[in-house]
């Protein structure tokens, strides 16, 4: 019926593979989308050569925000942090396979904002991180 609600998105929303928390972890960060109250926390374990060895996300929100978090986490496991730092808006849209208007873009990019703020060790997840 709907491009935005492709099966893959509904599937990742209903049965996320990477929902949860990591204890212990090397990096953790959490933030909200102030517009709708969506919340995402991301925990990372980082091994030798700064490779992401494991990652999880937790939180609540719409199908777009939760599915994009699950897809994002899936995509970074096994990657070096340097590569994670380079991820941008288009990478997330490619993972989702959809185009989004400005409002829902914020939902989709919340997890990337949280991830990058954590990886860079910043106190705040700003919009600049995902341009």
């Amino acid at each position: 019926m709907d491009d935005l609600y492709r099966e893959v998105i509904i599937e990742h929303y209903k049965n996320p593979a990477y929902r949860g928390k990591l204890d212990p972890h090397d990096i953790t960060f959490a933030d909200n989308n102030p517009l709708c109250g969506d919340h995402i926390q991301i925990d990372l374990r980082v091994g030798d050569n700064n490779i992401v060895t494991d990652a999880r996300f937790d939180g609540h929100g719409c199908a777009i925000s939760q599915a994009s978090a699950d897809l994002l986490i899936e995509s970074i496991i096994g990657k070096p942090l340097d590569e994670v730092k380079k991820l941008n808006k288009q990478d997330v849209l490619d993972l989702l396979g959809i185009d989004l208007g400005p409002v829902r873009l914020k939902c989709a990019l919340l997890s990337l904002k949280v991830l990058k703020a954590g990886v860079y060790g910043l106190g705040e997840a700003s919009d600049d991180l995902v341009e």
Binding site: M1, D2, L4, Y5, I10, K14, L35, C36, G37, D38, H39, H60, G61, C62, A63, I64, S65, Q66, R104, C107
Partner: protein
């Protein structure tokens, strides 16, 4: 097109000639995309605008555009008259004793902030108690948070019961602590609850407190008489009552407004300016610094004329009918949870959650069928926290809403459920 879907008895029961009213709102005719008609169920966020309002603003810019109050030329006089006539209309609409007691602001938020920055800063000191409620919009919370940080005032909140009403027993207990100010919403923008404003104001006055009524959601939908309510201050916005954005009003009791220090400084709010001093202008100009939203004020006046031409009692009755029907239909849907009291205690608002589906997704999927509802916390985050939910979907109704539109909403919600099944 609309009536074709109504059973005959519905037409007879309808208080208003809805088809005629809908024809007054050009936007209601538009398609959201080819072949998909707009179903606008978001009037609580902002109402649509009738042609009369659009024309009044258009005519001002085409024929009478000039700055007000200063010029002596024809256009300046016309503009000033239109601007001040609108103020008179607004005053009459809420039964204010005089137009001098209507201060133009940008919106309800600015009206409340005006009181917080003038009356409250002149009158409240550390330890003074301000009573709010758990169902307030952020615009009636944050100005007081700011003052609390600055002044050390104390804030207490009248709790909301599970069925979405204010707990007046707790209110009584709080009043025994001699509050200086009680500020509350007349009608909740999420629950739709219509609070017993008159009773609450009488109770506040009995202990010497000043009252602010946030009437952003009530004045567009009910007959509000500020003298009958006895309110000290009443804040509201044009854009929720068929008027333009960018203009609102603050009503205040004369002796309070007279005693208050000015708000913003600049042109128009002064009687006299020296290099090192100024004297404030008389009411209402004391609170209106700078060139105001002239076209918007004129549009505000036209909106009041329009609502009067339909009749506020008729509007309230129509909305009640629609709301009753909507709540009944929504309740049938498995997994749907409604928030707020029953139809007899609320205005035309239906906030709900669907089990396992985020409100944003609900709104997005409904949009595909042209149905506009709002999703989120509706600027009432503490209220949502109280109910343990991050967000709700909200459908809201106005004088142009139809039962057919409610039916489309219901169909749309079933589609959402199917997609997520």
């Amino acid at each position: 097109m609309e009536s074709a879907n109504f059973p005959l008895f519905t037409i007879i029961l309808m208080t208003l000639n809805i088809q005629k009213i809908r024809a007054d709102f050009p936007i209601l005719n538009r398609e959201v995309k080819p072949g998909v008609q707009l179903v606008y169920l978001d009037s609580t966020a902002t109402s649509q605008k009738p042609l009369a309002v659009i024309d009044a603003m258009d005519s001002y810019y085409r024929n009478s555009n000039a700055n007000i109050h200063r010029g002596v030329h024809t256009l300046a006089e016309e503009a000033t008259k239109l601007y001040e006539d609108a103020r008179e209309k607004i005053a009459k609409f809420i039964n204010a004793p005089s137009a001098r007691q209507i201060i133009y602001t940008r919106n309800t938020t600015e009206s409340i902030n005006l009181i917080a920055y003038t009356w409250a800063r002149a009158n409240l000191k550390a330890g003074d108690l301000v009573i709010l409620t758990e169902m307030e919009h952020h615009s009636n919370l944050v100005p007081w948070h700011i003052l609390q940080a600055e002044r050390g005032i104390e804030l207490e909140f009248i709790p909301v019961t599970d069925n979405g009403l204010l707990d007046l027993d707790v209110y009584k207990t709080l009043l025994s602590r001699s509050p200086r100010l009680v500020s509350f919403t007349h009608m909740s923008n999420v629950l739709g609850t219509i609070n017993p404003a008159r009773e609450m104001i009488v109770m506040a006055h009995a202990v010497g407190a000043i009252t602010i009524l946030d009437a952003a959601q009530s004045i567009p939908h009910l007959k509000v008489d500020v003298q009958n309510l006895g309110a000290d201050f009443v804040a509201f916005s044009a854009h929720k009552m068929c008027g333009p954005t960018g203009i609102g009003a603050l009503y205040g009791r004369l002796e309070l407004l007279e005693a208050m220090p000015p708000f913003l400084g600049g042109g128009d709010m002064i009687k006299e300016v020296k290099l090192r001093s100024f004297r404030t202008n008389s009411l209402p100009y004391k609170f209106e610094a700078g060139t105001p939203a002239i076209a918007e004020a004129i549009g505000f006046g036209a909106a009041v004329d329009y609502l009067n031409s339909i009749g506020m009692d008729n509007i309230a009755e129509h909305e009640h009918e629609i709301t009753e029907y909507a709540l009944e239909r929504l309740e049938e849907i498995p997994g749907l949870k409604l928030f707020g009291p029953s139809a007899d205690k609320k205005g035309g608002v239906a906030a709900f959650t669907l089990e396992g589906i985020h409100p944003h997704d609900v709104a997005q999927i409904l949009d595909k069928d042209g149905i506009a509802v709002r999703a989120g916390h509706h600027c009432a985050q503490p209220l949502h926290e109280k109910f343990g939910i991050p967000a709700t979907s909200r459908a809201s109704f106005y004088l142009y809403s139809t039962k057919n539109e409610v039916d489309m909403l219901i169909q749309g919600i079933y589609k959402v459920k199917e997609l997520f099944a």
